[in-house]
C-alpha cells in the first residue's frame, strides 16, 4: 500500500491550500479525505524519528513518533474528521482554511521531537485559531480575538525564551523531561500553563471560546488545551505542584459554570474543569495516573466536542445561546437533545460512557498515592461537573420553561458529526479495552468493578437529586442576563483603571508644574519689562528727541569713521 513519510501537518497544510482555492462539494471531499488518509497512514507508521536535520549546530527532529504523541495524534485526527464534518455546510473560506491549518499545527506540535519545532507550531496554533474567532465578524469578536491572540503569542514568547535558556544550559533542543529546574524550567512551565489554562492564567479560554463561530468553537475545544496537556505530560510528569494546580482547576471553574448564562461559556468552564483532572494525573506521574490523564484527554476531546456541537447547533438554529433565552427545544430538536444528553452523560462519567473509564484512573491513582484531600476535591469536581455540564446544559437548553422557540434539528452534516462523536463516547465506555490498548503504559486497570460502578452511580444520582431538590425549593440560581466577572476583569477593567488614574494624576501634577513655571516666567518677564519700560530705556516705545539727536550724531560719526577706513 502507498505510504508517505511526510509528517501529518504537511498533509493538512496541503489540504488547507486546496481548501483555499476550491469550493462546494469538492472542497468538502478533499477536506474530509485529508484527515482520513493521514490517519490510515499514521496507523502504519512505526515509532521512531522519521525526519531529522541539523540547524545551527542543533539536531531538529520535527517528526518523532512515540506512544504518547500517537495517542494525541489519533484523537486529533478523530477531532478533525468530526469538526470538518460538522462544518461542511460553512461556505466561509477563511474558516475552512483556518480549521485545516489549526488541526495541522496541533499535529505538528505533538510530533515535535525538539523544542524549536514545538515553538513554531505553538505560535502557529495561536495564529491559525484566531481566525475562527474573527470569522464571527462582529466588533466584539474582533476585540476578543485580538486579546486572545496577544495572550497566546505571549505564551509563545515565554516558551521561546525558555527554550533559549534551555539550549544554552543543556546544549540540546530535544523535547524530553524538563522539570522545574532553573529559569528555563519555570519559563516553559508558565508558557504551557497559559495554554493549559491554569487558574489565573485561564481567562483567555472562557473569554474567547464562546465568541467563536458555532463551528469554530468545536475546533478550538479540541486542540489548544490538549496540545498543552501533551506538552505537560512529556516535560513535567510527576511534578507535585501540578497536583494542586490541577485540583484547583477542577474545582474553581464549576462555581462560575453554575451561574454563567452563556451556555457555551459554561462549557468553556467545564473544559477547564476536565483539563484539571488531566493535570492532576500528570502531577501524580505514576503509570496509572499518566494513563488516566492521556485517556481522559482522548475522551474529553470527543465528548466536549459533542457538547460544543450540540450547543453550536442550538446557536446555529435559533441564533441564541443564553440559558435565559432558551428552553423547551426538545420538542422540535429531539435528535440534538438525545445527542447532547449522550455528551452530558459522558462528561459526567456515567458507567458505560467514555468519561467513566478514564476519569476513574486519575481518581484511583490519587488514592493509591495517598492524596486523600485531592481525591475528595476531585470527587466534588465530579459531582459538580455533572451538575453544570451534565444537567444544566441539557436542562436549560432543551427543557426548563418553554421559550416558545421552535427550531428544527440542524443540517444533516452537523447531525452526522454528532452521531460519530456520540457513537465513540458510548463505544469507548462499553469497550474500554480498545482505548486502553493505545495507552503509553500497560496497567491492567479495570474500571468496571461493582464497588466503583455503585459509588459513581450513587454520586451522580444524588447530585441529580440535589438539583431537583434545589429547583423545587426555588433555591437554584435562575439564568439571568448578566456578565459574571472573572480574572479577565483585572486586565480588562482593573489595570486600565489603575493606569488611567495614574496617568490622570501624572498629568495633573505635570500641569501644575508647567503652570507654576509659566507663571514664574511670566512674572519674571513682567519684572524685566517694568524695569526697562522707562523713557529711553531698552524696551521703551517712546524716546525723547534729545536722545534721538545723540543717536543720529553717533550714526553719522560711524559713517565718517568707515569712510576713513576705506
Amino acid at each position: 500500500m502507498w505510504m508517505t513519510e511526510l509528517p501529518p501537518f504537511v498533509l493538512f497544510f496541503i489540504g488547507a491550500l486546496i481548501a483555499a482555492v476550491t469550493s462546494g462539494r469538492l472542497r468538502g471531499v478533499v477536506m474530509l479525505a485529508i484527515p482520513i488518509v493521514s490517519a490510515v497512514n499514521l496507523w502504519m507508521m512505526p515509532e521512531g524519528i522519521h525526519l531529522q536535520f541539523s540547524f545551527m549546530d542543533y539536531q531538529l527532529s520535527p517528526y518523532k513518533i512515540d506512544k504518547l504523541s500517537l495517542m494525541f495524534a489519533y484523537v486529533f485526527h478523530i477531532a478533525a474528521v468530526i469538526a470538518i464534518t460538522y462544518s461542511l455546510h460553512v461556505k466561509d473560506t477563511v474558516q475552512q482554511v483556518a480549521g485545516m491549518l489549526y488541526a495541522g499545527s496541533a499535529l505538528g506540535a505533538v510530533f515535535a521531537g525538539d523544542l524549536l519545532t514545538l515553538f513554531v507550531f505553538w505560535e502557529l496554533l495561536a495564529l491559525t485559531s484566531v481566525f475562527l474567532i474573527l470569522a464571527r465578524r462582529t466588533p466584539r469578536a474582533y476585540v476578543v480575538g485580538m486579546r486572545y491572540l496577544i495572550i497566546q503569542i505571549f505564551s509563545g514568547v515565554l516558551l521561546l525564551v525558555g527554550v533559549l535558556f534551555y539550549a544554552a544550559e543543556k546544549g540540546t533542543l530535544d523535547f524530553q523531561y524538563i522539570g522545574l529546574e532553573g529559569v528555563y524550567g519555570w519559563l516553559i512551565f508558565f508558557a504551557i500553563g497559559i495554554k493549559c489554562a491554569f487558574p489565573l492564567l485561564h481567562s483567555w479560554l472562557t473569554d474567547a471560546y464562546p465568541e467563536a463561530t458555532p463551528t469554530g468553537t468545536v475546533f478550538l475545544s479540541a486542540f489548544t488545551t490538549k496540545v498543552a496537556v501533551y506538552a505537560l505530560a512529556r516535560a513535567y510528569p510527576g511534578t507535585e505542584m501540578l497536583i494542586y494546580i490541577g485540583a484547583a482547576m477542577a474545582c474553581l471553574p464549576i462555581f462560575w459554570a453554575v451561574i454563567e448564562n452563556d451556555l457555551r461559556r459554561v462549557l468553556a468552564y467545564s473544559l477547564m474543569n476536565q483539563v484539571g483532572f488531566m493535570v492532576v494525573g500528570i502531577g501524580i506521574g505514576t503509570a496509572l495516573a499518566i494513563n488516566g490523564a492521556v485517556a481522559h484527554a482522548f475522551n474529553d476531546v470527543i465528548f466536549k466536542g459533542l457538547l460544543f456541537m450540540s450547543m453550536g447547533s442550538v446557536l446555529h438554529m435559533t441564533g441564541r445561546i443564553n440559558g435565559s433565552d432558551l428552553g423547551g427545544l426538545y420538542k422540535t430538536m429531539p435528535k440534538t437533545t438525545i445527542l447532547c444528553i449522550v455528551g452530558a452523560a459522558s462528561i459526567s462519567a456515567f458507567p458505560l460512557f467514555s468519561g467513566f473509564v478514564s476519569k476513574s484512573m486519575v481518581m484511583a491513582a490519587a488514592l493509591e498515592n495517598g492524596y486523600d484531600w485531592i481525591w475528595l476535591m476531585l470527587l466534588f469536581a465530579s459531582a459538580g461537573v455533572f451538575h453544570h455540564a451534565g444537567i444544566k446544559i441539557p436542562y436549560f437548553a432543551f427543557f426548563a420553561h418553554d421559550s416558545g422557540l421552535r427550531a428544527s434539528d440542524p443540517p444533516t452534516n452537523m447531525l452526522v458529526a454528532m452521531f460519530i462523536a456520540a457513537g465513540l463516547c458510548i463505544g469507548i465506555g462499553v469497550y474500554p479495552a480498545a482505548l486502553y490498548s493505545l495507552l503509553p503504559y500497560d496497567t491492567g486497570y479495570n474500571p468496571y468493578d461493582a464497588t466503583h460502578v455503585l459509588a459513581q452511580t450513587q454520586l451522580l444520582f444524588f447530585s441529580a437529586l440535589a438539583f431537583v431538590w434545589l429547583n423545587l425549593r426555588g433555591l437554584y440560581p435562575p439564568e439571568l442576563k448578566s456578565t459574571h466577572l472573572d480574572f479577565d476583569w483585572t486586565y480588562r477593567r482593573f489595570f486600565p483603571l489603575i493606569l488611567r488614574r495614574l496617568f490622570a494624576t501624572i498629568w495633573k501634577i505635570d500641569g501644575q508644574i508647567r503652570r507654576s513655571f509659566i507663571s514664574k516666567l511670566d512674572s519674571g518677564l513682567h519684572y524685566l519689562a517694568q524695569r526697562n519700560a522707562g523713557a529711553s530705556s531698552l524696551l521703551s516705545r517712546d524716546h525723547p528727541a534729545g536722545s534721538m539727536v545723540i543717536w543720529v550724531t553717533v550714526l553719522l560719526a560711524i559713517y565718517l569713521l568707515l569712510s576713513f577706513i576705506r
Binding site: 427543557f399 447530585s463 440535589a466 448578566s482
Partner: protein
C-alpha cells in the same frame, strides 16, 4: 410555529413520573450499599452511603456558594460593551461613567 402540539413534558404527569423514577433509583442505590460487598479504598468509604451523601451535600454547597458569589460578581449584560462600541453608539446609549469599576 405550532404551539398547540402536545409534547411529552407538557403533561405534568410525565414530569412527575421522571421524578418518581429518580427518587426510586436513589433509594435503590442507597439500599444497594448494604447488600453489595464493597472493597473500600479509603476509610471514609466505610460510611454507608458516603458517595450518595457527598454528592448531595457537595452539590448543595456548590449551588449555595455560587449563588452567594453572584452577589459580588454579577454585572449587567453590557458591562464590557464599551470595549467594542464606537463613540456614536456610546452617545446613543447616553450612559455615563461606564468605565467605573463598581457600576
Amino acid at each position: 410555529m405550532d404551539n398547540k402540539t402536545k409534547y411529552i413534558f407538557d403533561d405534568p404527569k410525565n414530569v412527575k413520573r421522571v421524578m418518581y423514577f429518580l427518587y426510586a433509583s436513589c433509594a435503590l442505590l442507597f439500599a444497594l450499599d448494604f447488600v453489595i460487598h464493597r472493597h473500600v479504598y479509603h476509610s471514609w468509604e466505610n460510611l454507608w452511603g458516603f458517595h450518595a451523601i457527598y454528592g448531595f451535600v457537595g452539590c448543595v454547597v456548590l449551588v449555595v456558594v455560587a449563588k452567594w458569589m453572584r452577589g459580588f460578581l454579577m454585572r449587567p449584560e453590557d458591562y464590557y460593551d464599551d470595549e467594542w462600541k464606537t463613540d456614536e453608539d456610546e452617545k446613543n446609549t447616553s450612559k455615563a461613567g461606564v468605565l467605573n469599576v463598581d457600576d
